[in-house]
Symmetry: C3
Subunit: 206 residues, 3 copies
C-alpha cells in the first residue's frame, strides 16, 4: 500500500505545504545570518528535504526529491520568496505554528511510508521522527548552532508522540486515515503546549 | 559467506554488547549535558547505530537496525538504564574499557561484513574503521564537541590497526575466526596502551 | 550512456586529479591543526570522496570509491605527501587554483553522471553542486569550522553556474563534450574572479 493511497490527497497537500514550511525555516536561518541568495537556496533545500532524504536512504527507497522535481522546486521558490520579502513579514511565532503542522504531519507521513515499505513497527516509528526532525538537525549543524536536539523545548518529543501513536493505532487495527489524523493532532497539540506554555520534559539530575 | 557465519555466534553476542556500549556512551554524553530522556534515547541510537548505518549505506546493504528491531531496542533500553541510574555508577574508566572492546570488535566486524559483500580489501578495511568510529563522530558533531577525530588520543588508529590487520591476515590465507580474534586483540591492546599510558601518535610539525 | 563515455578519457584524468586536489585540501586542514597522520588520512578521504559519495547515495548508484580502490588510494597517497613535505611547499594560492579546477570539473561531472542515470534536469544540476561542494562542507563540519556555505566568498555559486549551465546546454541539444567544456570553463572563470578580485554575491539586507 502506497502512503499516498493510504492517506489520500489531503496528505499530498500537507506534504507540499510541510516542505515549504521547513524550507522557509531554513531560508530564515540564512536571513538571520545575512547570507546570499545561494545560501538561502542551500539551507531551504537541506532543511526542506533533509529528513525525508535520510528516511528514504535508511529504508532503501528512491530519494523522493531526486525522482520528483516538484520538491526541490518548492524549496527554491520558497527561498526566493523569503529573499525578496521584508524580514518583518516573517514573524517567528507564525513560523512556529506552520512548523508545528509540518512536524506533526511529517512524523505521521514518515512512519506511514516506512510501514508501507514493510519496515517493522519500532524502526517505522523512528522513521517518522527522522522525517520530521532530521532536516532541522542538519540545518543547525551546518549553521554551527546548538542542534534542536539539545535545546530544552519540547520538539522532538512531539514527533515521537505522533509517530509512535500512529504506529500503535495502526497495529491496534484502526483505519489508517483515522489513525493518521488522531496521531498528527496529538503531536501538534503537544508541540502547541510547548509553544504557548513553554512545556518541557524534565532534565537529567544524575 | 555471511559475516555471522564467518565469525560464529560469539561475535553475535559481542555485536549486541558492542552496540549497548556505544549506546551507553551516547546516553552519557546526554547525561553530562543534563538533557531529557528523549535526548538520551536520540544520542544512544545515533551513537550505537551510526557507524554500522554509514557502512551499510556505503556498501549498499540493507541498514541493519531497520531490518532487525533488536538493535534500536537495545539502544532505547540502554538509554533508559543510564537515565534511571545515578551518574556515579557510570565510571568513565569502566566505560573506556567497554568502549575499547566495542571499538576493536566493530572494526573487525565491519571489515568482515564488507569483505563478505564482495568489497575490495582497501575499502573493506575502511568500512571497519567507519563501523567502529562513525557513531562517535556523529555524536560529537551533534553535541557540538570537538570530534574524536581531532583529539590527540589514539582512538581511530586502533580501529585502523584492527581492520587493516584483519583484512591482511584473511588475504594471507589465515582462517577467518583466527584472523578476527588476532586483529581484534591487536586493536584492543593498542587502545589499552592509549588508555593506560596515554600513548598517542606524533603530530604534524610542518 | 556512461559519464566516462560521454566525457571521454580527458575527464578521467581530471577526475583523479580533482580528487587529489580535494584530498590535499582536507590533509592541509589537518596540517593547520597539527594533527596526526591518521587524521590527515581521514580528512583527505572525507574531503576527496565526500561529495561523490553523497551524490551516489542520492541517485542510488554504487558508491564510486567502494567499487574502485584507486580513489581511496589516491587520497591516502596525497595525505602521506602532505604529511612528508614542508608546509611552505603548499601555498594557499596554488591550492585555491587547483581547487577551482576541481570544483568546476566535479560540478559538471556530477551533473553528467546524474543525467546519465536518468535523473531529471533540476535534481541533476543539484547533484553537480553536491559533488563539487559536499566534501568541503563535511570537512568543515568535522573540523568545527564555519562551513564554506556560510563564508561570503563566491564558491558554491561557481558550482551552481557550471552544473546548471551544463544541464541547460545539454537540454538545448549541444553535444555533451562541448557543453561540458563550456560549462566547466564558465564555473572556473567565476571562481577565478572570486579568487583574484574577491567577487562576492550581495547579502540579504532584510
Amino acid at each position: 500500500m502506497e502512503p499516498a493511497q493510504i492517506l489520500g490527497p489531503i496528505l499530498s497537500v500537507i506534504d507540499l505545504l510541510g516542505i515549504a514550511v521547513f524550507a522557509a525555516s531554513g531560508a530564515l536561518q540564512a536571513a538571520q545570518r545575512r547570507q546570499t541568495l545561494v545560501t538561502f537556496a542551500f539551507f531551504a533545500l537541506i532543511t526542506g528535504t533533509g529528513g525525508g532524504t535520510v528516511r528514504d536512504l535508511l529504508i532503501g527507497a528512491p530519494v523522493f526529491w531526486v525522482v520528483d522535481s516538484r520538491y526541490p522546486l518548492i524549496c527554491l521558490v520558497t527561498a526566493l520568496l523569503v529573499w525578496m520579502t521584508p524580514r518583518a513579514w516573517w514573524k517567528d511565532r507564525a513560523l512556529d505554528w506552520f512548523d508545528a503542522i509540518g512536524l506533526a504531519a511529517y512524523a505521521v507521513y514518515g512512519a506511514a511510508k516506512a510501514l508501507s515499505a514493510g519496515v517493522a513497527p519500532l524502526p517505522a516509528a523512528m522513521m517518522g521522527v527522522v522525517t520530521a526532525c532530521m532536516g532541522g538537525i542538519i540545518r543547525d549543524v551546518l549553521a554551527g548552532q546548538p542542534s534542536i536536539i539539545l535545546r530544552p523545548e519540547l520538539y522532538v518529543t512531539a514527533a515521537v508522540l505522533a509517530a509512535a501513536l500512529f504506529v500503535l493505532l495502526v497495529l491496534a487495527g484502526m483505519a489508517v486515515p483515522v489513525a493518521a489524523i488522531l496521531a498528527a493532532l496529538a503531536g501538534f497539540l503537544l508541540r502547541a503546549l510547548a509553544i504557548v506554555r513553554g512545556l518541557a520534559l524534565p532534565v537529567y539530575r544524575g
